[in-house]
């Protein structure tokens, strides 16, 4: 399955191994794994992340990002796996992979999917610490990264 939500921990290496199978027409696979950090931006320990999601809109937002990546880059296929629920430090939150005939398209598609996932995927993220918990909003840096893809020069 190209796009999937995961309620339980998943093995990113298994996702990559599956995605790699039967790729004799491709010349490149790029993958990325995002992990839950054990420390917050202030350096203090985080016990877990909790991702609230919507039963229908979340998967649809991932599907839309996947479809846009397929339309925009010369890639042959892609995969997105995204966790929801309680996520412990060191566990994978997200896995993305793109396969293409040439490496540039695969790199760019993976980068593009991550920038859009970080700002537009339908999740609400809470950092839980021994001292309490708080909801996280996307950073300006994430919005800046997302905008890069709108500002690309027109192809000649």
């Amino acid at each position: 399955m190209a796009v999937r939500l995961a309620a339980e921990p998943f093995a990113a290496e298994r996702e990559l191994a599956e995605f790699m199978q039967g790729r004799d027409g491709d010349g490149a696979v790029v993958s990325f794994v995002g992990l839950a950090r054990g420390r917050g931006p202030d350096g203090e320990p985080v016990e877990r992340l909790r991702l609230d999601h919507h039963p229908r809109l979340t998967l649809r937002s991932l599907d839309e990002i996947a479809a846009a990546a397929l339309a925009r880059f010369a890639i042959s296929s892609l995969r997105i796996v995204h966790r929801f629920g309680a996520i412990a430090p060191g566990e994978a939150i997200v896995f993305v992979a793109a396969a293409a005939e040439h490496r540039r398209a695969a790199f760019e598609a993976a980068d593009y999917m991550m920038d859009r996932l970080k700002t537009e995927a339908v999740f609400w993220k809470r950092e839980e610490r021994s001292t309490g918990s708080h909801w996280i909003e996307p950073r300006d840096e994430d919005h800046g990264a997302r905008r890069r893809w709108d500002e690309a020069p027109c192809p000649e």
Binding site: D52, H54, L57, I93, K118, T119, A121, F123, W124, K125
Partner: protein
């Protein structure tokens, strides 16, 4: 009618509430009514909280028939 909440709104308002439907009520009207019933629901009055019916984000003039579940979505955190 059933009203669902997500993200930070769950902390203040719970996962779901049930209130009596009012004929011809719009999403805007529902927000104001909820805010009048519970001070915590004033969070729903901000324009950044979107309303969803079925699988669609709906505008403020959308008329509710009382049968649907209305969901309020605060700004996203992203993945």
């Amino acid at each position: 009618m059933r009203i669902g909440f997500f993200g930070p709104l769950r902390d203040s308002l719970g996962d779901e509430r049930e209130i009596a439907a009012e004929e011809g009520e719009t999403v805007a009207g529902l927000r104001i009514r909820l805010a009048g019933l519970d001070p915590d629901a004033r969070d729903l009055l901000g324009p950044q909280v979107r309303a969803c019916v079925g699988d669609r984000i709906v505008g403020e003039d959308f008329r509710l028939d009382g049968q649907e579940r209305v969901e309020f979505l605060p700004p996203l955190s992203g993945g």
